[in-house]
């Protein structure tokens, strides 16, 4: 068996593990264990749902049904990722756990990206560049968010710099790439 095939056969298990870990981390398990007896049960239920929902859906974008249950089932990976962010925003875990959630979210989005890991994707190994750039961007935002500037006079300067950096990055990206109609 070729390494590529072996890797693709192992992918569903890895995706399930990462997806379940993402949801569990977003639920802030240390706080859930300290809370009422209902909270650990909810975490377990969320983990079970995540185990079911996390494998990649590698199907052609064919219109099958416009009913919400069918759409949600088809896009359950996206729903799960979005739900984990919402849960994390509600539970507000400590910084180390927030960093874990960010890493797991990045890993999950990359693992379930059919463009690079689907059955019709090229056999070559995906380039590490986008993952590293994304991780760096997320880390930067996390550090900026956790910097103790919010109640100091430097807060406005930091916010202005962040906005300027974001706009500059967007302009650079759009000018270098674009993808519009041929001129």
């Amino acid at each position: 068996m070729s390494p590529t095939v072996r890797g693709r056969r192992a992918a569903p298990l890895a995706t399930r593990c990462v997806g379940t870990a993402l949801v569990v981390a977003a639920c802030d398990p240390p706080a859930a264990l300290r809370g009422s007896s209902l909270q650990p049960a909810l975490v377990v239920i969320a983990a079970l749902l995540a185990w079911w929902a996390s494998p990649m859906i590698d199907e052609r974008p064919a219109q099958t049904s416009m009913r919400w249950p069918a759409l949600a089932a088809r896009r359950r990976g996206t729903v799960m990722a979005a739900a984990s962010i919402a849960i994390a925003a509600v539970t507000d875990p400590p910084v180390w756990l927030a960093a874990c959630v960010a890493v797991l979210l990045l890993a999950y989005l990359l693992l379930t990206d059919a463009w690079t890991t689907g059955v019709t994707a090229p056999a070559r190994r995906p380039a590490p560049g986008p993952a590293l750039v994304t991780a760096a961007a997320s880390a930067l935002v996390l550090l900026a968010a956790e910097a103790p500037l919010s109640h100091t006079p430097w807060a406005r300067l930091a916010a202005a710099l962040a906005v300027a950096a974001t706009v500059t990055s967007l302009v650079l990206v759009l000018r270098r790439r674009g993808g519009g109609a041929p001129r």
Binding site: E59, R60, I85, A89, A102, T120, G179, P182
Partner: protein, 463 residues
């Protein structure tokens, strides 16, 4: 085992082996197609033109939007770090080159004519301006077609299909999704693969029973008439001018006068195969279609008679009456089949009126084979018309299986008994009129059914 219904409705397509990426690629390309009531894949609606957002971009945008909304609603700035992940992925996936605006496709399908079970290869070449990241084909196979393999290159798609059922079909349509280099937008182009003619696989047959009277045409069958063949049928007194090498010396010695061999004339038979297209009955047990088996048996008969240099024609009754006068030669087999390839379409517009046979379709004295499941009462009227023409006739019965009856359903069991009795009565009535009825079992050689007819020549009726 899980799977989707196969296009012929006879069973289920087995689930692809997870370890085989080629099988999974085929399954993916077939995904999202609705299977109709007749077991045929239904093509999705005509795709919209122009570029639209891909599922990759849609998924990441959704996650980013939820992240931004969660950050705003909760007031936790660190949640923006989670929203930054899909946003950065979107940014780094923006396409590097211009998206194509003009796309042209070229289709090559080979062969356009084949037999059941043979492979048809379709090659689609995509030409475009700008840059394209990947081609993603979605296949809607035509009726009677099975997709075996799919190979996708940068600008070329190759499909390998197997023709499973005879007919004039389209191999299918292919919706090709062209993605930009980052996979964030796609555009769909529909490609029609045209039409192929799938000939039925003839049932194995070698025996060619012949009628008593043969037309005066040179052939391979010894006729009772005197002629110039090689089969000795008697002796006759020498007549001045006859060839001396034909002298039969034992008879000459016994009779005391010169006796010569008398040879049989060798004639070709005229045969017409009549196809019952009044209906298509699927055997509840085996799933076999009576129409498919009718055609395979008819093709076997045609090939057997053509191989002995006889003339054979065809008439299909039910819907539009199609017919072809008897002819000979190997190439005539294909003309015969082509003339009736579209009878499957007649099933939708069959009427209830009386069927009139075209007089020129049944030459005088031609042996008529009626291949029928004997399921429609109107075939009896046709048989009477043929019999009125005094043509020798053989009915080849194609078994259609008994209707399914649930255990314990007394009414259904009684109906099944009546149904069987009705069929027995039909066979008995035909035999009483001197019409030979033989039963062909699908999968077996036709010679097993035809062999009893070789004991004697087939007699025609009286006008």
């Amino acid at each position: 085992m899980t799977g989707r219904p196969s296009p012929d409705g006879s069973g289920t397509r087995p689930a692809p082996d997870p370890a085989d990426p080629r099988a999974r690629a085929v399954e993916r390309a077939l995904g999202g197609r609705q299977v109709g009531r007749d077991g045929v894949y239904q093509a999705p609606p005509e795709p919209t033109h122009g570029w639209r957002v891909s599922e990759r971009a849609l998924g990441w945008s959704t996650v980013a939007a939820v992240g931004l909304a969660a950050a705003l609603l909760s007031g936790h700035a660190w949640v923006l770090a989670l929203a930054a992940i899909p946003l950065t992925l979107l940014a780094v996936s923006l396409p590097l080159g211009a998206r194509p605006q003009h796309v042209e496709t070229t289709v090559e399908v080979a062969p356009r004519r084949c037999f059941e079970g043979e492979t048809v290869t379709a090659r689609i070449t995509v030409a475009h301006d700008g840059s394209v990241g990947r081609l993603d084909p979605g296949i809607t196979p035509g009726p009677g077609m099975r997709v075996d393999a799919l190979a996708v290159g940068r600008a070329r798609i190759e499909l390998r299909l197997t023709a499973e059922r005879w007919g004039r079909w389209t191999p299918g349509t292919v919706d090709i999704d062209l993605y930009d280099t980052g996979g964030l937008a796609r555009r769909t182009v529909r490609v029609d693969l045209g039409e192929v003619e799938v000939f039925p696989l003839p049932t194995a047959a070698g025996l060619t029973p012949i009628p008593v009277r043969l037309p005066t045409r040179l052939g391979e069958h010894a006729s009772p008439q005197r002629g110039e063949g090689i089969e000795v049928i008697g002796v006759h007194p020498y007549v001045r001018g006859e060839r001396q090498r034909r002298i039969n010396w034992p008879a000459t010695t016994r009779r005391g006068s010169l006796q010569l061999h008398q040879f049989a004339a060798e004639r070709a038979a005229d045969t017409v195969v009549m196809l019952d297209v009044f209906g298509d009955i699927r055997d509840p047990v085996t799933g076999l279609s009576s129409l498919d088996e009718t055609f395979r048996a008819a093709a076997g008969l045609a090939r057997a008679y053509l191989s002995t240099h006889d003339r054979i024609g065809v008439v299909s009754i039910g819907g539009a009456t199609r017919w072809l006068q008897p002819g000979s030669g190997d190439a005539y087999f294909y003309r015969i089949v082509q003339s009736v390839l579209e009878v499957r379409k007649d099933l939708a517009r069959r009427g209830t009126g009386r069927v009139r046979l075209p007089p020129r379709a049944l030459p005088e004295g031609a042996l008529i084979y009626v291949v029928t499941p004997l399921a429609d009462q109107r075939i009896l009227d046709v048989l009477h018309q043929v019999r009125a023409g005094a043509n020798p006739m053989v009915v080849v019965e194609i078994p259609s299986g008994d209707p399914e009856v649930e255990p314990g359903d007394v009414t259904a069991e009684m109906a099944l008994r009546l149904w069987r009795a009705n069929r027995d009565a039909i066979r008995f009535a035909l035999a009483e009129r001197g019409i030979a009825v033989i039963a062909h079992q699908p999968g077996q050689t036709l010679d097993l059914a035809l062999a009893p007819l070789l004991r004697t020549r087939i007699h025609g009726g009286s006008r």
